[in-house]
């Protein structure tokens, strides 16, 4: 099963958080979230830490890529 990508670029809060929350509830493994601003990064990371999930962050072509570990 490939990486499931949530592309939340250009979307402002709370949309990125809602999309990630939905993907997690649907049981998506191997999740990768794309955001393009600091606020979305903070909000998505806050959601992940509340759920006890680890994340790894890297920058790719102007986007922030958040890789989620179960």
């Amino acid at each position: 099963m490939g990486t499931y990508r949530v592309d939340a670029r250009g979307l402002s809060c709370p949309q990125p958080v809602v999309m990630v929350d939905r993907a997690l509830k649907e049981g998506k493994e191997d999740l990768e979230v794309l955001v393009d601003n600091e606020v979305s990064r903070e909000n998505v990371l806050r959601l992940l830490s509340k759920k006890g999930l680890r994340a790894e962050i890297k920058e790719e072509e102007g986007a922030i890529v958040i890789r989620v570990f179960r």
């Binding site: 592309d7 809060c13 709370p14 949309q15 809602v18 999309m19 600091e38 903070e42």
Partner: protein, 357 residues
């Protein structure tokens, strides 16, 4: 670099700071329970520009300019200045109009609702309950995939337009330009518009709040929305800190006067206090931020937030020209109709704007 303002301690400090500054602004001359009221202050700006002719609410409020400029400077320093736009722009303009109409039925935005509560005004409870109800409705749309579409990066200079507009307003205030005899810029000689803290105090407080709110992402609507949507109390802790800090300051400064009747710049029509704020709350959710947050976003380059603000200013003109806005005597015959129209607009927007992203 870690953003300390985005921590729990950070948001609580920011909320407390806003509460303290709001109480002090009132102490230094702003109208009662209106140390800060984004809606009222934008309404006063609309009046000063002649967009409405309600003689008692006309003043170019430096706090609003400070909010935008403070956020602009903070965003530049933090490398978060990011011009963007193109997400449901015209819809946001109308959401701004109806948000303002709802707020002027209640007589205050969420910020003032909190400050009214901290000043002892029981009517604020109805407004805040309405706010929660409106946000609850909006969250149902969010859960069903509501969004106004993506925004896209814009040219770097396009994000300067809104801060520049604030500088122009500031110059008009400083030089008190009169464009024609009996014409704008208008300055109230009596009523709430005539009550204001000294210019530099207002501007300084505005810039400080704009900067720390930009860093902390303080948002009164977001606070309630996040609790309902994802059981997250992060922003909520900032809002609670605001109320507690303003309450303590009001006690110290002798500004706490509990009761329902005879509260300053308020009316006791419980139903319309509730419904006015419910409409505003719904519009804020659909637009993604409370009126304060929209100003901070405008400062960091969000042109769609800027359009929402302009919608609110135009909405203030409409609300007073068409006699929708309440007064301390109560709601007007047309106010409830405007609220109904606003609800219809927001419900249609909420139901229809849900393309897959």
């Amino acid at each position: 670099m870690k953003n300390i303002f985005a921590s729990r301690m950070g948001i609580v400090s920011v909320g407390a700071m806003i509460g303290i500054l709001a109480a002090l602004l009132q102490h230094f001359g702003n109208p009662p329970n209106m140390g800060i009221c984004v809606a009222c202050m934008e309404r006063d700006i609309a009046g000063a520009l002649g967009l409405h002719r309600a003689a008692v609410v006309q003043y170019l409020r430096p706090e609003i300019m400070g909010f935008v400029l403070g956020a602009f400077i903070a965003a530049l320093l933090a490398k978060e200045y990011r011009p963007r736009g193109g997400s449901g722009t015209l819809i946001r303009f109308f959401l701004g109009i109806f948000a303002m109409i709802g707020a002027l039925i209640f007589l205050g935005c969420p910020w003032r609702a909190l400050l009214r509560l901290a000043g002892g005004d029981g009517n604020a409870i109805l407004g805040l309950l309405g706010l929660v109800a409106g946000i609850f409705i909006g969250v149902q749309f969010l859960k069903r995939g509501y969004n106004l579409g993506r925004s896209y990066p814009q040219h770097r200079a396009s994000g300067w337009v809104f801060p520049a507009l604030m500088v122009v307003l500031f110059l008009l205030l400083v030089f008190r330009v009169s464009f024609s005899p009996g014409g704008p810029i208008f300055f109230s000689e009596k009523g709430p518009g005539s009550q204001h803290a000294p210019l530099l105090v207002s501007l300084g407080a505005g810039i400080l709040i704009g900067a720390i709110a930009q860093r902390s992402r303080f948002c009164t609507m977001g606070a309630i929305r996040d609790v309902i949507l994802i059981r997250d109390f992060h922003l909520g802790s900032g809002v609670l800190a605001l109320v507690v800090a303003a309450f303590i300051m009001n006690i110290i400064l002798g500004q706490f006067k509990p009761g329902f009747a005879g509260q300053p710049i308020a009316h006791t029509d419980h139903l319309w206090n509730f419904l006015g704020m419910a409409l505003a709350g719904l519009a804020f959710v659909l637009a993604g931020g409370c009126p304060g947050r929209q100003l901070f976003l405008s400062g960091e380059g969000d042109m769609d937030a800027g359009i929402f603000v302009l919608g609110m200013i135009v909405g203030a003109g409409i609300a007073h020209n068409f006699n929708f806005a309440s007064s301390p005597a109560g709601v007007t015959p047309f106010g409830p109709i405007a609220v109904l129209v606003g609800f219809i607009f927001c419900l249609v927007v909420g139901l229809t704007q849900r393309d897959r992203i």
